[in-house]
C-alpha cells in the first residue's frame, strides 16, 4: 500500500523594479521600446566601461524587502554569475549570490480552510536582467537578434523556503506577494507583462515525512493561474512516477499553456559566482534604513484590521478596501470627507468599477473626487435620496463639477419622505389596484412587491423606499382590521 504523498513547493520570483533607469547606467528602464533604443556603452558593455549602481534600484529593492518582512543586511555585494550566452553582454550577470540584500522574511497566506499559514522567505537579492533574444527567419536562414533594451534593467529575486503544499496555496502566496509589492510601489508585478516571473520547485514525499526529495523546476508560466495549473500537473506527474516506483531526477521543465503539460528543457550551462571587483559593496546605514521604514505605507494586513476595528467594516469589505493601494487611498479620502464607512466600502467595491470602466478612467484620474463622492453617500445615508437616484447622481457627478446637492436639485430626484405626501400616494395606489390588495390580504406576499413598485413608479422613483414600505404595510394591514 502506497502511503499518501505530499507535495513540497518552493517559489523563485523575479520582480522587475519600477525604476526610471537601468541598474548600472542611466538608460531608461523601458524594455518594451523599439529594440536597442535604450542602450549605452555601459549596458552594451563596450570595453572601458564600469557599472554605476543606481540609488533608486536600491531604494525600490529595499521597499520590496520591507514589504515582505525581510531583514535587510547591513552589507551586501554583487557577484558575477558567469555563463556565455548572447543575451549577456559581459559574459556574466551581476547578481547578489553570496551576500544578498535581505534574508529571513515571511508572508502569511489564508489557506483554503481559512486558516493562516506563514510562508518563510529565504532571501531577496538584486540582479540585472539580461538582453532579449529574438529568433527570426531571414529568407530561409534563421537569424538570432539581440535586443539590449532589457539588458541591465533592475530586478529582485525572491526565494521562498519550500513551505507551500498545494497549488492553491502557491497561487494564494503569489497573490498576497503581488499585493504587498504593489502596495510598496516598487513594482507593477504583472505576470502577463513580464514584470513578475515565477519559477516553481516541486517535489513529493510521503505525508508526515521531513525529507526533501529531488525537485523539479518548472518555468514559463505567465499568469498566477498557470502557476497553479503547472504545479498541479507536475505533482500528478511525480505522483504517478512514485506509484510506478520510477526515480525522480532533478531537472527543469517548461510549462506549455496550450497543451497544459510540462516537458523537459535543455539546461543552461550555469557557471560559478565570483565576487565582482568593480561594484563596491552596498553598505546600508541605520539612519537610511529607518527613513525607508518610516516612509513605508501602512500595509494591507494592518489596514484591513484597522478598517474592521475602527470603521466597522466586515472582513470581506475590509479586504476589498485594503488590497490595492489606490482603492484604500480613495476609501480613506472619502472617509476624511465624512462618508459613512460601510456604505463607502460597498459603493467603491460595487458601483465605481463598472462606472470607471465605461468611462475608461481610473480612481486616480476620475473627475469624481472623493469629496463629492462622500457628499453623495451622506445624502443616501440621510435618506435624502434613494439608492436608485444615487446611482443616477453618481453618473452625473462624473460629468460635471457640481456638488451632489446641486445635481439632486437639478434632476429633482430628492427623495420624498414627507408622511402626508407618501400617504396620499399609498392611498391612491391601494385604491387603483384593488385586486392586488385583495391578493395580499389572501396571503400572497408577492403582491406587496407589486404595489410597492406601483407606488415608486407613481412617485417618479423619488419615494423613500423604507418609509413607503412601512406605510404601505400598515395601510394594507390596518385596512384589513
Amino acid at each position: 500500500m502506497m502511503p499518501t504523498l505530499q507535495a513540497v513547493i518552493g517559489l523563485e520570483i523575479h520582480v522587475q523594479l519600477s525604476c526610471a533607469t537601468k541598474m548600472f547606467c542611466s538608460c531608461p528602464n523601458r524594455p518594451g521600446d523599439e529594440p536597442n533604443r535604450n542602450t549605452c556603452p555601459i549596458c552594451l558593455w563596450l570595453p572601458g566601461n564600469l557599472p554605476r549602481f543606481s540609488a533608486e534600484a536600491l531604494e525600490k529593492a529595499t521597499l520590496a524587502c520591507l514589504a515582505l518582512n525581510c531583514r535587510i543586511q547591513k552589507e551586501s555585494a554583487f557577484d558575477q554569475k558567469v555563463y556565455y550566452y548572447p543575451d549577456l553582454p559581459k559574459g556574466y550577470q551581476l547578481s547578489q549570490f553570496h551576500r544578498p540584500l535581505a534574508r529571513n522574511g515571511w508572508l502569511d497566506i489564508v489557506q483554503e480552510d481559512e486558516t493562516l499559514q506563514r510562508i518563510r522567505i529565504q532571501k531577496i537579492h538584486m540582479e540585472e536582467d539580461v538582453a532579449r533574444l529574438v529568433h527570426e527567419k531571414e529568407g530561409k536562414t534563421t537569424v538570432s537578434l539581440v535586443d539590449f533594451n532589457r539588458a541591465g534593467t533592475p530586478l529582485v529575486e525572491i526565494v521562498t523556503e519550500p513551505d507551500l503544499r498545494t497549488p492553491a496555496d502557491a497561487m494564494e502566496f503569489l497573490r498576497t506577494l503581488r499585493m504587498q509589492l504593489r502596495y510598496s510601489q516598487c513594482s507593477t508585478c504583472s505576470m502577463e507583462q513580464g514584470t513578475m516571473r515565477v519559477d516553481a520547485n516541486v517535489s513529493v514525499r510521503p505525508s508526515g515525512s521531513n525529507v526533501l526529495n529531488a525537485k523539479v523546476e518548472i518555468k514559463n508560466m505567465n499568469s498566477i493561474r498557470h502557476v497553479g495549473d503547472a504545479v498541479a500537473h507536475e505533482i500528478r506527474r511525480q505522483e504517478s512516477l512514485a506509484m510506478s516506483k520510477e526515480p525522480i531526477v532533478t531537472h527543469t521543465r517548461l510549462w506549455d499553456p496550450e497543451a497544459r503539460i510540462t516537458s523537459p528543457m535543455r539546461e543552461k550551462f550555469e557557471g560559478p559566482c565570483v565576487p565582482d571587483p568593480s561594484v563596491p559593496p552596498i553598505v546600508i546605514s541605520e539612519k537610511w534604513l529607518r527613513e525607508m521604514i518610516r516612509n513605508m505605507p501602512e500595509m494591507p494586513g494592518l489596514k484591513a484590521e484597522r478598517y474592521m476595528n475602527r470603521h466597522g467594516l466586515t472582513r470581506e469589505e475590509a479586504l476589498q478596501m485594503s488590497a490595492e493601494r489606490n482603492v484604500s487611498c480613495y476609501f480613506e479620502s472619502a472617509l476624511d470627507h465624512q462618508a459613512p464607512p460601510r456604505l463607502a466600502a460597498q459603493w467603491i467595491a460595487a458601483q465605481l468599477p463598472p462606472l470607471l470602466k465605461d468611462r475608461e478612467e481610473t480612481l486616480e484620474n476620475t473627475p469624481l473626487d472623493p469629496q463629492r463622492f462622500a457628499g453623495l453617500l451622506l445624502m443616501l445615508e440621510r435618506e435624502e435620496i434613494n439608492a436608485n437616484a444615487a446611482r443616477e447622481v453618481l453618473r452625473k457627478l462624473c460629468e460635471s463639477t457640481a456638488s451632489p446637492a446641486e445635481i439632486v436639485v437639478q434632476c429633482g430626484c430628492r427623495q420624498v419622505s414627507e408622511a402626508d405626501e407618501l400617504e396620499a400616494l399609498v392611498d391612491r395606489v391601494i385604491l387603483e389596484n384593488a385586486s392586488a390588495v385583495e391578493n395580499f390580504r389572501q396571503g400572497a406576499s408577492k403582491a406587496l412587491g407589486f404595489l410597492m413598485g406601483r407606488a415608486m413608479q407613481a412617485s417618479g422613483g423619488k419615494a423613500n423606499p423604507r418609509l413607503l414600505k412601512e406605510l404601505m404595510t400598515s395601510k394594507l394591514k390596518g385596512d384589513g382590521q
Partner: protein, 399 residues
C-alpha cells in the same frame, strides 16, 4: 615611422589653448586607454576595429591640463606583461616626455627600469579606471613612465581625482602633505627570492640609501613568497570574467563561418587571443568552474597579505626591494609561469593596492639595472615621489 612603438599616431597635435599643468608636454598613452576617435587596439585581435565613443577620464584630464597627446603606444595583449610594448621606448627615445601604461603585474615599473626611466604605480583607487581596457580590475592601475620625477608628479596631480564614473575609487582622502618619509624596511625574506649576485647588488644600494639619510630596518614577513600565487589566481579569474565581453557580438573581431552563435563564439575567441592570453584565461576559467575553493582561499590570503603589509607600514614609511631579476626576461615569457617569475618583485604592491615607484640606475647587477622599488602606505603617493626625488638627488648627486 615608429610603427613598432606607436599603434596610432595623432595627426592633429595642435598646441593646447590654455596653459595647464602639462602645457606643452608630449604624452604617449598605451593603446589600452580609450581616446575618442582613435582606434583602441589593446594589442589584441579581440579589439580589432574598436573605436571608443568617449575619452577615458585620465585622457580628459590630460587634455584639460594642456598635454599634447602624441599617439597610442603599442601594448602587449590586453596589457598582460610587456612583450612588444612601446610606451617605454617612446619615452626613452625622446618621442614623448611621459607615458601612461597599465600596471597589473608591475608592467609600468619593470618597463621603465629596463629603459632607464622612472616608473610609478599609484595607490589602487586613486586614479580613475573609467575608459581603460580592464583585465584584472582589482590589480590594475594607471601607471606612469618618465625620464624625470617632476613629470611623473605632474602627471599624477593631473589624473588623481575622484571620478564618479569609477565607483570603485576610494572615497577617503589621500594624505597629500605627509611629513618626510625616512624609515625604510627591507624584507628579511628577500634573501630567499634573490640570487646571490642580486642580493649583493641590492645590499650595496641599501647601504647608499642609509648614507643618504634613510633609517633602514629589517622587516620580517614570512608570507612574502605568497604574493605571486595569490596574484596569479585572482588576476586570472578576473581576466576570465573581463574577457567575457569579447564575444564578437557588439564590437571587435568576429569569426565568419560559424553555423550558429555558439560556433561563432568559439571561433571568434579562438582567433582573437594569443597563446599567452589563452593560457591565462584558461587558468582563470579553471578556478572559476573547477576549483572555486582555491579562488576563495586566494581571496582570504589576499586579505591577510594586505593587512600584513599595512601592519608593517605602521612603523615604516616605505618598503624597499628591487624591481626585477637579473636573469629573468620579462619581455619574452614562454608561459604564464615565466611571466610571473619575471614580475615576482612587483607583485606585492599590485596585490595590496599600494603605491610603488621604481627608480633606475641604483641597483646594478651583472651590467643589468634591477631598479630600486619603493612601496609605501596607501595614499602616500606624493610623499613617495618626494622621497624618490630626494634619494635620486643624494645618491646620484644630480637633480
Amino acid at each position: 615611422m615608429h610603427s613598432e612603438i606607436f599603434a596610432h599616431v595623432n595627426q592633429a597635435t595642435c598646441a593646447a589653448e590654455n596653459h595647464g599643468r602639462l602645457f606643452g608636454k608630449r604624452v604617449g598613452v598605451q593603446s589600452l586607454f580609450c581616446v575618442r576617435g582613435w582606434p583602441c587596439t589593446g594589442g589584441s585581435k579581440a579589439l580589432e576595429g574598436f573605436h571608443p565613443l568617449e575619452d577615458a577620464t585620465v585622457i580628459q584630464r590630460l587634455k584639460t591640463e594642456g598635454a599634447v597627446l602624441a599617439g597610442s603606444t603599442r601594448s602587449s595583449e590586453l596589457g598582460l606583461g610587456i612583450a612588444g610594448d612601446g610606451a617605454a621606448k617612446a619615452v626613452s627615445q625622446g618621442l614623448v616626455h611621459a607615458a601612461l601604461m597599465m600596471d597589473t603585474l608591475g608592467e609600468a615599473r619593470v618597463a621603465a627600469v629596463k629603459a632607464g626611466l622612472f616608473g610609478f604605480k599609484p595607490s589602487w583607487g586613486r586614479v580613475s579606471r573609467f575608459g581603460l581596457m580592464g583585465l584584472a580590475p582589482s590589480m590594475e592601475c594607471c601607471g606612469m613612465l618618465a625620464s624625470n620625477l617632476d613629470d611623473i608628479a605632474r602627471m599624477l596631480e593631473t589624473v588623481a581625482h575622484i571620478d564618479e564614473r569609477d565607483p570603485s575609487m576610494a572615497a577617503d582622502k589621500p594624505t597629500g602633505t605627509s611629513p618626510a618619509l625616512t624609515r625604510a624596511g627591507v624584507f628579511k625574506e628577500l634573501q630567499d627570492l634573490l640570487e646571490p649576485q642580486e642580493r649583493s647588488a641590492f645590499s650595496q644600494a641599501v647601504s647608499r640609501l642609509e648614507q643618504a639619510g634613510l633609517t633602514i630596518r629589517e622587516a620580517q614577513y614570512k608570507d612574502l613568497s605568497l604574493f605571486a600565487a595569490v596574484h596569479q589566481v585572482i588576476a586570472a579569474v578576473e581576466a576570465s570574467s573581463s574577457c567575457g565581453k569579447f564575444d564578437g557580438v557588439r564590437f571587435g573581431h568576429r569569426a565568419s563561418g560559424g553555423k550558429n552563435w555558439n560556433e561563432m563564439y568559439l571561433q571568434t575567441r579562438r582567433e582573437s587571443f594569443g597563446p599567452l592570453m589563452k593560457a591565462f584565461l584558461f587558468q582563470g576559467a579553471y578556478f572559476q568552474f573547477e576549483d572555486y575553493a582555491a579562488f576563495e582561499q586566494a581571496c582570504r590570503i589576499r586579505t591577510r597579505l594586505v593587512q600584513g603589509l599595512a601592519k608593517l607600514l605602521e612603523n615604516l614609511d616605505v618598503l624597499v626591494l628591487p624591481a626585477l631579476h637579473a636573469k629573468r626576461e620579462p619581455a619574452s615569457p614562454r608561459d604564464i609561469e615565466e611571466l610571473y617569475r619575471a614580475f615576482s618583485l612587483t607583485l606585492p604592491a599590485s596585490v595590496a593596492g599600494l603605491p610603488a615607484i621604481a627608480l633606475p640606475g641604483m641597483v646594478r647587477c651583472d651590467g643589468r639595472d634591477l631598479g630600486l622599488q619603493l612601496v609605501g602606505s596607501w595614499g602616500t603617493d606624493q610623499g613617495m615621489l618626494a622621497l624618490a626625488q630626494r634619494l635620486t638627488t643624494l645618491t646620484q648627486g644630480a637633480p
